[in-house]
Amino acid sequence: MRKITYKEALREALREEMQRDPTVFLLGEDIGKHWGGAFKVTEGLAEEFGDERVRDTPISESAIIGTAVGAAITGMHPVAEIMFGDLTALAMDQIANQAAKIRYMFGGQAKCPLVIRTPFGAGVNIASHHSQSLEAWFMHVPGLHVAVPSTPYDAKGLLKTAIRGNNPVFFCEHKLLYPVEGDVPEEEYSIPFGVADIKKEGADVTIVATLYMVHKALNAAKQLEKEGVDAEVVDPRTLTPLDKEAIVRSVKKTGRLVIVSEDCKTAGVSAEIAAVVAEEAIDYLDAPIKRVAEPDTPIPFSPPLEQYVIPDEKAIIKAVKKVV
């Protein structure tokens, strides 16, 4: 099958959806002709679709999301880019109070089909304001969907579903994933929300991981295999809706659970998944649930400091060995 990068897969989804539907448009800082997006996801799209549909905005995160909300509730399908995930804090009212609540508090009158794309993740030495993983913030807001694609295939398929849907979608990307290559078919496809993907089957332990951590979990699983441990790697692909069934099914099979997430541990993605399993499958567990997550600190700058806080293969292997 054809191999393309995560970044190219995202761009393809945007291009195809813009070709399909004239109400789809993009807005964000430096996404247009002169830059193509800080991570070049939108490169070439302004040339193809024009400045009107690929709109460079001022540095006004609140207005970017608010404008997208206003356009979405009046019949457009905006895809907003926030340059770095940390900067969503600047637009939090528009995301959490407006986009997410507008349908509910108006009694179902409105649809808010809006996609907010943003990169999370540490590992490129850009310190505390450009590196955090904040997926859990958005899982805590009813009304939002939260997508967390880990491969080019998932990125394209999930972004298409996000754009075609009728709800606000918080679409998490990861900086280190942009250059990662993977199989993406030429033909049309999309991936439904709420359907996890078993990235590797196994019998001894379930590892649930998201975004870049899926790749680290797969590396860890390879090493564990050499030591006779057969790990299953489950990628939820969307956190809201969360495919609880797939996670519980895997845990029932393996009896052991390790959750790997790049956000900080307290009240994080791993906490929610652990709670789901504790509520729904505790009798099937043969060992305590282990969580591999970032410690509760901001992301530091200096490479040895930063590497220290990011979960790695060693930490995953260590956690697995504690439960098998």
Partner: protein
């Protein structure tokens, strides 16, 4: 005919404007009464005293034009043409309300008439109005958006971000600042070194106009020019309507922070009294015609209250519906 020319509006339109102002007045007085009877859950922010703004602005709009509103939004809804019954039912938390009881007084919307909803986060409606304006531009539908907000909201970052963006993209948005002098209990002079919010328009390269917000015809005329400009693709306008709320900020507020003389001065400038005098002076309406309108509205409001009171509450489990489309 001469009188109509003086006011530059047909008699039908003037009657409709007067009637709407009276509707807002009697509706809000009734909400206040119902609140006192413990029939209104939560809180209320009444539009009493500001009727000329909503009516003056909305009279310039077409049905498919948009408005965004605030926590003090009942008047905006009525002026845009929403059904009084369904507004009142929503205020009482009933299933027949516009939002099926999920929104209440601070979150009324009627998307069918372009009323894109009231947000209770101060300043949050501005970027949403910009988005609706962008939508109109994309669709080339010749629609405009009127965005209501208070002078308090003009200190939010969204005010700056939104007007800058609308000005840069020349979007058809009328930014309507309802300056009632107080943000809750904080007088404007305590938090701003300027007198006119409209002066801020200079910073965005758009017209900023101050208008007597208690004079419905002045509001109408000013807005009409702004709407015309917006429809021609010439971009947004900031209109500051100087007005005053007759009651406190919300239901619990006796507004003791306002000097008695100030309140009296503004009560004397009551927008409805002012408009009524004008209609009589120009012989547009007779005293008995005016009384007839007031009587009709009064009867209408009684029916509205009856409908709202008799409507059922939503089933509790409906709380789980409408989270996602």
């Amino acid at each position: 005919m001469e009188k109509q020319l003086t006011l530059n509006l047909t008699k039908d339109k003037l009657v409709k404007m007067y009637r709407q102002m009276v509707e807002i007045r009697l509706f809000e007085e009734k909400v206040f009464d119902l609140y006192a009877q413990n029939l209104v859950p939560g809180t209320i922010h009444l539009y009493l005293g500001e009727e000329a703004v909503a009516v003056g602005i909305c009279t310039t709009l077409n049905k498919d034009d948009y408005i965004t509103s605030t926590h003090r939004g009942h008047g905006h809804c009525i002026a845009k043409g929403a059904e009084l019954k369904r507004i009142m039912a929503e205020i009482l938390g009933k299933k027949t309300g516009y939002c099926k009881g999920k929104g209440g007084s601070m979150h009324i919307a009627d998307f069918k008439i372009g009323m894109l909803g009231a947000t209770a986060v101060v300043g949050a409606g501005l970027p949403i109005a910009v988005g609706a304006g962008l939508s109109a531009k994309f669709k080339k539908a010749n629609q405009v958006v009127a965005c209501f907000f208070g002078e308090g909201a003009s200190n939010q970052g969204t005010f700056h971000e939104s007007i800058n963006l609308a000005a840069t993209w020349r979007l058809p948005v009328i930014f309507v600042c309802e300056n009632n002098l107080y943000a809750m209990g904080t007088r404007q002079s305590r938090v701003m070194a300027i007198e006119n919010i409209a002066d801020r328009a200079v910073a965005y390269g758009i017209p900023g106009i101050v208008v007597d917000g208690n004079d419905v015809l002045a509001v109408y005329e000013t807005t009409q020019k702004a709407v015309e400009r917006a429809r021609k693709g010439e971009g947004p306008t900031l209109i500051e309507c100087k007005t005053y709320r007759h009651k406190g900020h919300s239901r619990v507020d006796p507004a003791k922070y306002r000097p008695k003389e100030e309140v009296e001065e503004w009560l004397a400038k009551d927008p409805i009294k002012h408009f009524k005098q004008k209609l009589l002076q120009t012989n547009t309406l007779t005293e008995s015609e005016i009384q007839q309108i007031e009587k009709e509205v009064s009867t209408e409001i009684e029916e509205v209250v009856k409908f709202a009171k008799e409507s059922p509450y939503p089933a509790p489990e409906e709380a789980l519906e409408d989270v996602y489309a």
